[in-house]
């Protein structure tokens, strides 16, 4: 079977449009991030308590909220898991979970079990945040160095800008859809970086091969040819990975929900950015540069 026959799309000709498109998503995301403030982040990164409880029968969410509110603990959120109305994740301010659980016991008796509980202090959340940022920076620097060695500095920069783009776009969409950024999201984002750079490198590799063969200075044509030649692989690998991620999303349970949602976005935008961000930036740079491409 062959899904994608030989193609000849003018990808690079439309790059300005897609620069604009990506910018638009990010620009829309930023106000959301600012408005939501701390709520953007899971308890891992800002501290707080999180309890996961399951009732043995369906309960009224409004009633649950009212019960918790009686404790006067400040702002909290209740999120329903699944569709049966039994399982809830409650996010509470620092060190209030014991009070709330006590209150729930008084109100609902022994009709629920505590499936999970996390208490994260501010000092821990600060170090988790630092660790996450450190992981990103080291990962990106590692990629930058490796690609500079294997290709050229321009390509490395193109790839890393594309990675920043992927992270920003995925974060923007997460925030707009009301999801929280927690440790699992960070793991997903780093995986996306891995996937996206993988995809970008395959395109770059073909550009390198064709550049060596033809020695052309018509970069637009060179890039278009290379992207078209690798298009069928790009789509196939994207598809197989998306199959898996969709399975994780639909069958993997609550714990993997946001994680797989993130990955889904990441694969789509990671593939997109290899062409319209990474390659496009390198093309624009090469066109403005007086130095010929040498790889």
């Amino acid at each position: 079977m062959e899904l994608i026959k030989t193609t000849n799309f003018n990808f690079m000709g439309k790059r300005k449009f897609f620069y604009f498109f990506s910018l638009l998503i990010i620009i829309f995301g930023i106000p959301f991030m600012i408005i939501r403030g701390e709520k953007n982040f899971g308890v891992d990164f800002v501290g707080g308590d999180l309890i996961n409880i399951e009732f043995n029968q369906k309960i009224d969410v409004a009633n649950l909220r009212k019960t918790i509110a009686q404790e006067n603990i400040g702002s909290f959120t209740v999120q329903e898991l699944g569709t049966e109305g039994k399982n809830y994740i409650i996010r509470l301010p620092q060190k209030t979970s014991d009070l709330v659980l006590e209150r729930l016991k008084n109100n609902f008796g022994e009709n629920f079990i505590i499936k999970g509980k996390s208490i994260i202090s501010p000092s821990m959340s600060i170090s988790l945040r630092k660790k996450a940022i450190k992981a990103f920076l080291i990962g990106l620097i590692g990629i930058l160095i490796y690609l500079t060695i294997r290709f050229e500095f321009k390509f490395a920069v193109g790839a890393v800008v594309a990675l920043f783009h992927d992270i920003l776009v995925v974060l923007s969409i997460l925030v707009m859809t009301g999801k929280q950024i927690d440790g699992m999201v960070i793991a997903a984002l780093l995986t996306i970086i891995g996937y996206s750079v993988n995809d970008t490198v395959v395109v770059f590799d073909r550009i390198r091969e064709n550049a060596r063969k033809t020695r052309t200075t018509d970069y637009i044509a060179l890039f278009n040819k290379s992207i078209n030649e690798t298009l069928s692989r790009t789509i196939l690998t994207g598809l197989t990975t998306i199959f898996v991620v969709l399975c994780l999303f639909f069958f993997g349970g609550e714990s993997l929900h946001t994680f797989s949602f993130c990955l889904l976005l990441g694969i789509v935008f990671g593939t997109y950015s290899s062409i319209f961000i990474a390659s496009a930036i390198v093309v624009d740079w090469l066109k403005r540069s007086s130095v010929r491409l040498k790889i």
Binding site: M1, E2, L3, E54, I113, I114, K115, G116, K117, S118, I119, I120, S121, S123, M124, L128, K131, K134, A135, I138, G139, G142, I143, Y146, L147, R150, G183, M184, A187, L190, T191, G194, V197, N198, D199, V201, V202, D205, R206, E209, R233, L236, T237, T240, T241, I242, F243, V244, V245, L246, C247, L248, F251, G252, G253, S255, L256, F259, S260, L263
Partner: protein, 439 residues
Amino acid sequence: MKTQFYIKFGIIIAVIGICFYLFYPPEKKLKKGLDLQGGIHVVLEIEKEKIEEKSISDLTERALEIIRNRVDALGVTEPVIQKEGTNRIIIDLPGVKNPEKAIDIIGKTALLEFKLVIDDENLYKQALEGNVPEGYELLYLKEKDERGIYRETQPLLLKSQPELTGKYIVDAYVGYDRTGFPDVNLVLDKEGAKIFEEVTEKNIGKRLAIVLDGVIKSAPQIRERIPEGKAVITGKFTMDEARELAIVLRSGALPAKLNIIYQEVIGPSLGKESVQKGFKASLYGAIIVLIFMIFYYLYFGLLADFALTLNILILLGIVAGIKGVLTLPGIAGIALTCGMAVDANILIFERIREELKAGKSPKASVDAGFHRAWAAIIDSNITTLITGLVLFIFGEGVIKGFGLTLSIGIIANLFTAVFVTKVIVDWIIINRKIERLRI
């Protein structure tokens, strides 16, 4: 030519065998992370204020001893207790029955007491039968046996009221007696020295038990009146034993607070649910990929499927072999490896198709396909490996598990997708003298 193939096939079969041996049966050989089997994860921090940087590490050391002592008392099977940085202690207790109580016990302040041992035969017998007299208690002395494993040996009858507590201890350190054996020196503050002098004066010949959080650590005999608060505990200590006792003594004088800065309780039901769902989702994902590859590449798809299955086998084998921990994101990582592992094969197969279209012979196309795809495979896998390793090295808890499986998956992938498939394709083409290639 033939022997070369035999060697290559031999390598492949050996790898399959070793990996299978390493992880089978998976229930036993694959260690499940906390998120999958339920349990508690606690991070303690030593409060830093007013403590000099230099002494923090030592403080953490002492706190570790206290925590170990408490966790031992909980009877958890595979606890992980480790120091992180200079002032943090990470504790993982899988499968704890009563998490709330466990956390209470871990988080409370250390209690070091000196209690008199009662030698009265009658009272002791009575106590052993279960009638501990009022004002006394029966505690166990924990001793290391020859193999270095702690065992509860004989119980001792103690006076409940402690003679002295850890708050009077200024320092405890290891020294040497005249015969060159290690001993433990104890220094008490002024007030403690006065109490200690009285106690020792009145109880010469008796034993004074050193009790940490309700467990007797040592019960030396009082030989003489000890003035000035400088005591020496002798015994046939090994260096390690002496050092340990000194840490126990110092732990009682821990001039810092242990704060729980992170605690996570995962109920057993949540863990079970995660395993089932995570496993099911991964299995479905893998099956779809397997079917898709056959559908799309026919026989070559079958080959890619073989490589993929082998990839997962190697991945599980290595994880089990290096005693890595399988977490829920780790399972997701394996699933993701399935999706991404076929990438190398897709790269090769697409390249073979291109070469065929360009009019090359099957053999030449296959060779060119593998050869030309190689650079792309190496570069793309190494960049992914960089992020996988970063997750493994800098990640916390469950994310570490994810980075681990992702990294191993990529390494296994290089072996299976490139080496294994190439050997098989070459073998088929040479032996069957294939004229037309359907891919």
